[in-house]
């Protein structure tokens, strides 16, 4: 069954009314609660939530590692929530997965780890060797094919994980906290690799994380999960621009505002009794405009940059900037109305 949505995008994954309940000694836990999601082909889709939100449970239902209590899950034309046995195993070769702790076979070399899914799929030896070579090159592990996982760094291990996941030319790559065990720099290099794979192979990627940084860096769309429910979703930039739920706001703050911002605003207002403190929110192209330069050139003002942070997302920049405008009252007012005409979000911070 092929489904096309209004914009003509090919819908690859659809999750309909899915509930997953676990029964344990303490009673029933609804790990996933009435989730509906549609993911398009070629998209990098992120699910973010705090620990225990149900992210892993959700993503594990996409390859049948968990079966929904009710509802249906369709991936690449297959009803994953219903199929079993050989059919499910075949489907799994097209829906591959990478893990937080890499889950490599320590008894096998890098090359043999990558060959593993090919052995499972019954690919003959000469073809397997050829494919392993290609994959090693794709993930940048040339020269390490004879090494054992214990001799690799975390980032290299995840590269093996990615190569292994790509071996059978899957349609979907599921990433369960794939960078959570890595340092920030290694995280960035793995994320870049994922973007590269997404662009080069057109591979659909579903990733779950608790770091907004990861969403910001590579996702096209995001869903925010809390207590088993999707509480908010949309294109990453939209969500950054206009977070609705308190939890989403907190996640957005993770990447746009230095931790201490809120606390220091009052302090800023005390320091600048004259003029105005203004918070600017840049989204998309607006972030690239030389707004501050224009302000200084066109108006008789002193502009102090107090604090700010600009982040890149897949569809442009997003950021906040706190500035202090000082000068003649009329000039300040004119400057403020100029800013609002520039498609930049603006909020005048009042003395509370």
């Amino acid at each position: 069954m092929e489904i096309w949505d209004k914009e003509g995008e090919h819908r690859l994954i659809s999750i309909k009314d899915v509930i997953k309940t676990y029964h344990s000694k303490g009673g029933a836990v609804k790990a996933v609660d009435h989730v509906n999601l549609e993911i398009n082909e070629g998209e990098i889709f992120g699910v973010i939530g705090y620990s225990g939100a149900g992210k892993s449970t959700l993503i594990r239902m996409l390859n049948g590692l968990e079966i929904p209590t009710t509802g249906s899950i369709n991936v690449a034309g297959r009803e994953v929530s219903k199929i079993k046995g050989a059919k499910l195993r075949k489907a799994r070769q097209e829906i591959s997965m990478i893990f937080q702790h890499f889950n490599l076979l320590w008894s096998r070399t890098v090359a043999d780890n990558i060959a593993f899914p090919l052995e499972i799929a019954g690919v003959p030896k000469p073809k397997r060797d050829q494919r392993v070579k290609e994959l090693i090159q794709l993930v940048g592990l040339d020269g390490r094919e004879k090494a054992f996982p214990s001799q690799l760094s975390g980032g290299q291990k995840q590269r093996v994980g990615i190569a292994r996941a790509l071996a059978n030319n899957p349609q979907v790559l599921l990433c369960d906290e794939a960078t959570s065990a890595l340092d920030p720099q290694t995280t960035d290099s793995i994320l870049e690799l994922l973007v590269d794979i997404n662009k080069r192979l057109g591979l659909t990627i579903v990733l779950i994380t608790h770091e907004m940084h990861v969403i910001r860096k590579i996702c096209h769309r995001v869903a925010v999960m809390e207590a088993g429910k999707i509480v908010e979703s949309g294109p990453v930039l939209e969500v950054f621009k206009n977070p609705k739920q308190p939890i989403t706001k907190r996640f957005v703050q993770q990447v746009t505002e230095p931790e201490e911002t809120r606390d220091t605003i009052d302090h800023l207002l005390d320091r600048f009794p004259h003029g105005q403190v203004v918070q600017l929110t840049f989204v998309g192209e607006a972030a690239e405009q030389p707004l501050i330069t224009e302000l200084i050139r066109q108006y008789e003002l002193t502009v102090n940059i107090l604090q700010g942070k600009i982040s890149q997302t897949q569809h442009g920049s997003y950021g906040t900037l706190f500035i202090h405008l000082d000068g003649d009252e009329r000039e300040v007012e004119k400057a403020i109305s100029y800013i609002s005409s520039q498609g930049v979000g603006m909020e005048v911070i009042e003395n509370g």
Binding site: L65, R89, L104, L105, S107, I120
Partner: protein, 221 residues
Amino acid sequence: MDEFLNDIKWDKLIEATNETIYMTSISVVATFIIGLLLGLLLFLTGKGGLWQNRLINFVIAAFVNVFRSIPFIILIVLLIPFTRALVGSMLGANAALPALIIGAAPFYARMVEIALREIDKGVIEAAQSMGANHFQIIFKVLIPESLPALISGLTVTTISLVSFTAMAGVIGAGGLGHFAYLEGFQRNRPLITLVATIAILILVFIIQFIGDYFTKKTDKR
């Protein structure tokens, strides 16, 4: 000293050593196969296992525990009717084999189960997520990933088997135990007992050395 050495029937010692090696090797091979099978079944039918099944798990666990708890010397006696029916006699090295195997396999099965439990659950899950079937998971993941522990467990089991053969020897199975008991103890020649003991020790050291070598060689962690 020369006198003493001449006193020892070297050809008999060599024959006894060969018998011990024969009994140990055959029973090790059988113990490995049966123990691995039982251990795998214990693991797979256990909680959270691929073939989770309370009843089968309980039955195997009970069997393993019972035979692991019976002292070997009593096990031999208990198994006399069974051995007679199977081998036809109670004398000779072959007569010792059923008791050796039934005594050692449950012991090894537990070690196999422990070794398999040590495998990271995530690795099994990764194999499943790649579409591996149960056969592939057993032969490509479970056994290779637990190989060092399987080998070190087999080393310990083999050494126990050497001492089991000595006990079986006293009852009439031949081997170094028999030699020490009959030629040394009963004829009151302690030197012969000592020489037989040294032969057993050398055997144990060789087994330990080979076992350690392969455990280290297979461990890439």
